[in-house]
């Protein structure tokens, strides 16, 4: 199951459409990292609204993804984690520290805009 990746201005948006296998997740990670370089994107949004389970592998892969993209100079925000999923994740100890989160796509875009504005006026922190 391939995850569609949309280019929107300086951002990439990956909207997960259905449950993902481990292989799908790794493919998503690699594709995003590649595309951030190709398009010189400044930010990435990963929409996980449809995921009804986030186990240790999924959180770890997303965590890796965020850090790999940061090394490319772009910010990532994970949006749409469901309340029940968040509850299960923290019980497992999967708190995704250092990873930005937002309620939904709209909030995610606002977060990236703020980041970009901040970077435009001040020194780059990447």
């Amino acid at each position: 199951m391939q995850v569609p990746i949309l280019k929107q201005g300086p951002y990439l948006i990956a909207s997960i459409q259905s449950a993902l296998s481990d292989a799908d997740l790794m493919q998503l990670r690699d594709a995003l990292v590649r595309k951030v370089s190709t398009f010189r994107s400044r930010g990435v949004i990963v929409d996980v609204t449809v995921l009804d389970v986030m186990d240790s592998f999924a959180s770890r892969t997303l965590n890796d993804l965020v850090h790999m993209i940061r090394l490319r100079g772009a910010d990532t925000v994970i949006v749409g984690i469901q309340p029940e999923v968040a509850f299960a994740m923290v019980q497992l100890g999967l708190t995704m520290e250092g990873v930005a989160t937002a309620l939904d796509l709209e909030e995610g875009l606002e977060f990236l805009d703020q980041k970009l504005k901040h970077k435009g006026t001040g020194p780059r922190d990447g």
């Binding site: 309340p83 968040a86 509850f87 923290v90 708190t95 520290e97 989160t101 309620l103 939904d104 909030e107």
Partner: protein, 301 residues
């Protein structure tokens, strides 16, 4: 599973063979004298000061229904109808404060009133009286148990529902302004309530699109390490949804508990009191609170 016990009770209530004709004789006696016996029963209920929450008319009306159901249960040997009636009756009288001892009391009184009428009728034939009582007593006892159990079960159900309602009420998620929720927690937090609170808050964040949440625990005197851990999980889960949590009103005791269980306090945004917490929340949301006079003065032109 309650269903199963009801079925097995209903099955075991079918009368033993041989007692059939005695029971039908008994039933017709109770039907023939129903008016007199019902009045006697109602009189003894009043005398014993039972069902004080109900008026004489109500007692008599219920007594009539219970009596008819009682005789029918004796006749058919099945308890389903009586069970349904007992449940229905309990539902009506529990909110009026009728107690378990009253319900058990009135059923036992009915048993006694009917037994006495049997003594009076068969006093000349001791052998027959014995056989009638042999048929009557087990059936009457089963009926008494059915009504009492039905009442207690209904009462438990009511208490559970009330507890549920109180819990809902005691963890209100309040939206004070756009994107800002306040969760004032008051009273004792057990693991069950803690969990309910978390679920309510997480859903509230999503439905209200909250960005900042102030959890005020001024009203919580103490929490054990389990609940303290749960509080930390709640803060972390809220962040995963994209909301920042500010905890206010930590008592010295609770702070101690948090330190003892090794909570990384750098991950917890804490502010002394609710007022400060709301100010901090507004700052995070980009609001700036100024007095109206200053705001007007600051306006150009």
């Amino acid at each position: 599973m309650r269903k199963n016990t009801e079925q097995s009770m209903a099955r075991s209530s079918s009368m033993t063979p041989g007692s059939g004709h005695l029971l039908s004789e008994l039933v017709s006696h109770l039907r023939e004298n129903s008016v007199m016996l019902r009045e006697e029963w109602a009189r003894r209920i009043t005398e014993a000061e039972l069902l004080m929450a109900m008026s004489q008319e109500e007692i008599f009306a219920e007594a009539t229904s219970v009596y008819d159901n009682y005789v029918e249960a004796l006749e058919t040997g099945t308890l389903e109808a009586l069970q349904a009636y007992a449940r229905n009756l309990s539902e009506r009288i529990i909110p009026r404060g009728v107690e378990t001892h009253e319900v058990v009391g009135i059923v036992l009184l009915l048993r006694d009133v009917l037994a006495r009428s049997l003594f009076a009728k068969y006093q000349g034939d001791f052998d027959k009286l014995n056989r009638i009582l042999d048929a009557y007593e087990p059936a009457a006892n089963r009926i008494a148990i059915t009504v009492a159990v039905g009442f207690v079960e209904q009462r438990e159900r009511t208490i559970r529902e009330q507890q549920e309602a109180i819990r809902e009420l005691s963890t209100p998620v309040l939206q004070v302004r756009e994107r800002l929720l306040i969760l004032p927690i008051i009273g004792l937090i057990d693991p069950h309530r803690a969990r309910q609170l978390t679920e309510q808050l997480l859903r509230g964040i999503r439905t209200n699109r909250a960005k900042v949440v102030v959890i005020d625990i001024t009203g919580v005197a103490a929490m054990d390490s389990h609940v303290a851990n749960h509080l930390v999980l709640t803060v972390e889960a809220s962040r995963l949804l994209g909301a920042t949590v500010i905890v206010t009103g930590l008592s010295p005791e609770i702070s101690q508990t948090l330190v003892n269980i090794g909570v990384d306090l750098s991950k917890m945004n804490t502010v002394g009191d609710l007022q400060g917490g709301i100010e901090e929340a507004e700052r995070l949301l980009g609001y700036r609170v100024v007095s109206i006079r200053d705001a007007v003065a600051a306006q150009p032109g």
